[in-house]
Amino acid sequence: EPEVTQTPSHQVTQMGQEVILRCVPISNHLYFYWYRQILGQKVEFLVSFYNNEISEKSEIFDDQFSVERPDGSNFTLKIRSTKLEDSAMYFCASRRGQGLGYTFGSGTRLTVV
């Protein structure tokens, strides 16, 4: 069964450093998403991406965050200057079309120290 692949599985970074989280969505999917989950809390939407541009972003997705699909397969989330409160599990998701199911990746646990 096709999977959404995320790397790395765990990243530890110092406050103020830039991090890039990587995702390879399922190849025939057209819509891409990033969600995050702070430990013990619910899953929160960050951003959606379609047709090479951001469709929607939440209030969490401020100027410190950016997304890219640089080569038609990878989908990245960059955090420019990490804060302690960015520590969370970040999930990438993709879907083939609206009204169809989402497939989530295994997540990247980001720890900011």
Binding site: Y31, Y35, Q41, K42, V43, E56, G99, T103, F104, G105
Partner: protein, 113 residues
Amino acid sequence: ELKVEQNPLFLSMQEGKNYTIYCNYSTTSDRLYWYRQDPGKSLESLFVLLSNGAVKQEGRLMASLDTKARLSTLHITAAVHDLSATYFCAVDDTETSGSRLTFGEGTQLTVNP
């Protein structure tokens, strides 16, 4: 703003018993998803409910959707220890341009022998 509320948030039950988890939401969406999450792991898709009156069953779990009442239920029949996990419902917010999932807070289920 779309709100999704689950109850109960914590559920401890004995093996062999039945119980229901409820998911209420505040919009007119007719697309609702149930996910299972084991500690430190990703979101495993359980059910995709795409219309009013939809009912789906898999093993000891059955999910239903009533779009008029804006309510979905996840019913557990004759619980076993392996069902211990956190269960999230999520609603597709179809009023947004890119569509996105809004999650409930999750129900942490513990099944005791």
